[in-house]
């Protein structure tokens, strides 16, 4: 499903964020990515959905080899991936409903399918009362939940989430985790960068730890507190 081989990433300013990282993720896995602030978690995730290109090494996601993929294929490639960005990246000029619907419109879903599906996922994340709000009229956690709803609305093969519960209280976080585990149970691959120790320890899955741009741990059901 996903294969990274000897990936190195140097940013334009010279920072080497990822040094040498190889990784295989099978379809249907649930993967935590942890590591200290600035370790390189977001960098890895951004390379997975091709926002960033690796400086060297190769990345294969599904049938796409990201190094050789034509620019015109990128949108189609991304349609199989639902992404929750660390900074949400909602469209400021669209309402909650429209933000989520946009992700369906771009895959040319039919109008009559869009409405019920969008309402359904917004209900899942507990925002069914705020359809007409603009992102600027939402609390931080509400914005984050819109981002989550948008990521799952197309029922993608892979959901990649960068700290999807950073702005959520523990109860709401549990709710979101329930959703992610449920879609994972239905076959969706889930990759999730997180700082939430409690969650990692209480809901064990495969755990990847990155530190200083290197993979320092990759263990099934590992727990966050190991190093303490």
């Amino acid at each position: 499903m996903i294969q990274m081989k000897n990936v190195m990433k140097q940013y334009d300013n010279g920072v080497i964020a990822i040094k040498d990282l190889s990784l295989t993720v099978d379809p249907g896995e649930f993967l935590y990515v942890i590591g200290p602030s600035g370790a390189g978690k977001s960098t890895v995730i951004k390379m997975l959905y091709h926002e960033l290109k690796p400086t060297s090494g190769s990345i294969q996601v599904g049938k796409y080899d990201l190094a050789t993929m034509a620019p015109s294929d990128v949108p189609y490639f991304r349609r199989n991936i639902g992404i929750v960005f660390q900074d949400f990246k909602l469209l400021p000029r669209l309402t909650v409903f429209e933000n989520v619907a946009y992700a369906m419109q771009v895959v040319e879903a039919k109008d009559e399918d869009i409405k019920p599906r969008v309402l359904h996922v917004l209900k899942l994340v507990g925002l069914e009362q705020k359809l007409r709000r603009f992102p600027s009229e939402l609390s931080g956690g509400e914005q984050q939940r819109v981002a989550i709803a948008r990521a799952i609305v197309n029922a993608p093969d892979v959901v990649i989430a960068d700290e999807p519960t950073g702005n959520l209280d523990p109860d709401t976080s549990e709710g979101i985790m329930d959703i992610l585990e449920r879609i994972n149970a239905d076959g969706t691959t889930v990759i999730m960068a997180t700082h939430n120790r409690e969650m990692v320890n209480e809901r064990p899955h495969r755990l990847l730890e990155i530190a200083g741009g290197r993979l320092v741990r990759d263990e099934q059901g590992g727990s966050y507190s190991d190093e303490e």
Binding site: Y49, H50, E51, P71, S72, V74, P75, Y76, R78, R79, I83, F85, K89, L90, L91, P92, R93, Y102, A103, Q105, V106, V107, E108, D111, R150, N154
Partner: protein, 295 residues
């Protein structure tokens, strides 16, 4: 593209225009002011061009008829002149009419020549189809029977031709400059608005929108901006030109000059402004977006 998708783009573009609030207002008003300038100066330049052509066409060949020529001979000469290539019209003026115009501009002491004393000849004024033909027509008329002399104003006319050519050359230069400036300013305004929304465009890419899908609403929004920006200039130019043309009518008609009549002129001018607005607004959007549609 399916037609319902296109309708969605149209709806989205109008929604976005509305939700962009002050940014849209600023963009539309930049287009408005630019096109207003274009409309007004273009109306001026085109009419200067027209009037200068009319002035040039005022240059006519003066054919002096020998004294003692009979009416019949005069009529034959007139036919001959009218038969020349490039001649549009031949007008007769008697010696006393000629003298009157001299008295009018050179002072009353010329009045003593009135009546039998009049040393002047009767003349034919020959209008050519194109002012440039004046010289050749004069040369040919000079050789006709009963013609004592055929002149075309000599250095004065040549100077006039030169002046008119200069004016028209500069008019063309200023027209092109104006259009270039308008195109640049409108597309530049659009560019700034796109620039301030580059993050939005990137997000659209990130959630799987194709470039075409992203482009359409922006293209349409740019075109709306251009269209809405051209409405006020059209109104003002139509109204203002109507006003000016009406007032100018009496004074100018006396001099034999005329502005373009409202009707087809304003339609073309309006169409030109609207087209500049819409096309440059839409194209400007698409071109400005290119850079953000790469990754």
């Amino acid at each position: 593209m399916k037609s319902n998708v296109f309708m969605r783009h149209v709806r989205d573009s109008l929604k976005s225009l509305k939700r962009n609030g002050w940014m849209s207002v600023a963009a539309v008003s930049a287009v408005t002011v630019t096109l207003l300038l274009v409309g007004i100066f273009l109306a001026l330049l085109l009419n200067v061009n027209r009037v200068s052509t009319q002035v040039e066409n005022d240059v006519r060949v003066r054919v002096y008829i020998q004294k003692g020529t009979t009416k019949k001979q005069q009529a034959a000469l007139k036919d001959q002149l009218e038969g020349l290539a490039n001649v549009k019209k031949v007008t007769y003026r008697s010696a006393s009419q000629e003298l009157n115009s001299i008295v009018g501009s050179y002072g009353s002491q010329w009045a003593m020549f009135r009546g039998d004393q009049n040393p002047l000849n009767n003349i034919f004024l020959v209008d050519t189809k194109d002012a440039k033909d004046t010289i050749s027509v004069a040369k040919r008329a000079d050789k006709f029977k009963h013609v004592s002399e055929a002149t075309y104003g000599g250095t004065t006319a040549k100077k006039l031709f030169r002046t008119v050519a200069t004016i028209q050359r500069w008019g063309a230069f200023f027209t092109i400059l104006l259009l270039f400036v308008a195109v640049f300013l409108i597309s530049n305004t659009i560019r700034i608005t796109i620039l301030s929304r580059r993050d939005e465009i990137k997000v659209m890419r990130l959630v799987g929108a194709t470039n075409a899908y992203i482009r359409w609403p922006f293209l349409l929004e740019g075109a709306w901006t251009g269209l809405f920006g051209s409405l006020l200039p059209m109104l003002i130019v139509d109204f203002g030109y109507g006003l000016v043309a009406r007032n100018a009518h009496f004074t100018e008609a006396a001099n034999g000059f005329s502005l373009y009549p409202n009707m087809p002129f304003l339609v073309w001018l309006d169409l030109g402004m609207a087209l500049i607005g819409i096309v440059i607004g839409g194209l400007g959007s698409v071109v400005s977006m290119r850079r953000y549609l790469k990754a």
